[in-house]
Amino acid sequence: MVNEAAQLYTIEGVGAAILMVVTAYLVISSTTIFTPQDTHISDMQLQQLGSDALAMMDIADAYNGKSTLQLAIEGNNSQMFLQSFSRLVNSTTTAYDDGLKFNTMVYYRTDSSGIQPFKLCNNADYFRENAVTATRWVYITPPFDATLPFDNRDQVVLVEVLLWRN
């Protein structure tokens, strides 16, 4: 197969190289390599932080006292909730504003109309950002603020905070 024309090995080599390069190209272009971890990491971090912040707000300052969350809901005090939650969620060890925004809804049950939502406070308007929710059960007792639509009885409501990074 070898003669003085000096073509075969070269052609073989070229053919081999082309075959490998084309295969590699096809393979790489078809395999979508997304780093499997990245997709939900930020969601997990945000949700853990939101849960933590709500849990900390639900701890009363004194024994047998009411927690910030209870007081904010019973008095329909959106400022109290906003400041407290924002401080817990936006502080870092080096700065005070991490750029997190949130919306808060309270879900309560009434005898007449079932489960209803009630808007407690808004830090910013939500459009289409990637957001997570954190929830907390809160036990509230009357007397409630007059603007609240809750039934006049001891009850347990669910606070749902929608949290996203700007």
Partner: protein
């Protein structure tokens, strides 16, 4: 011929890589899916209700059950007989049962 063998090898490698990226469960998805905060929160709230002596209030039981089902899609049931607290939680992926003695 070497090139042929190598091409076949690359092809198989790509197959493995492709499948591994899809088949495995990512850690963060597992973390998001396990309702750690929900269960801890529920336990905390029920123990608090025992302290406030409201654990046997049927209105509150209905509150928790209906809100839990409508907002979280989870079934919650609990009972307290003076000594032991039984908790049942099932959100379709994780089921949690507890008997708490010693309040």
């Amino acid at each position: 011929m070497m090139a042929f063998i190598i091409s076949i090898t690359i092809f198989f490698l790509a197959l493995i890589v492709n499948e591994s990226a899809i088949v495995g469960k990512t850690t963060s998805e597992s973390v998001l899916e396990f309702p750690k905060a929900d269960i801890q929160d529920l336990r905390n709230e029920l123990l608090y209700l025992i302290e406030k002596n409201k654990i046997n209030d049927p209105d509150i039981l209905f509150d928790i059950q209906s809100i839990s089902m409508s907002r979280k899609g989870a079934i919650v049931n609990y009972a307290y007989d003076g000594n032991r607290l039984l908790i049942h939680y099932n959100d379709g992926i994780t089921e949690y049962n507890e008997v708490y003695i010693g309040t």
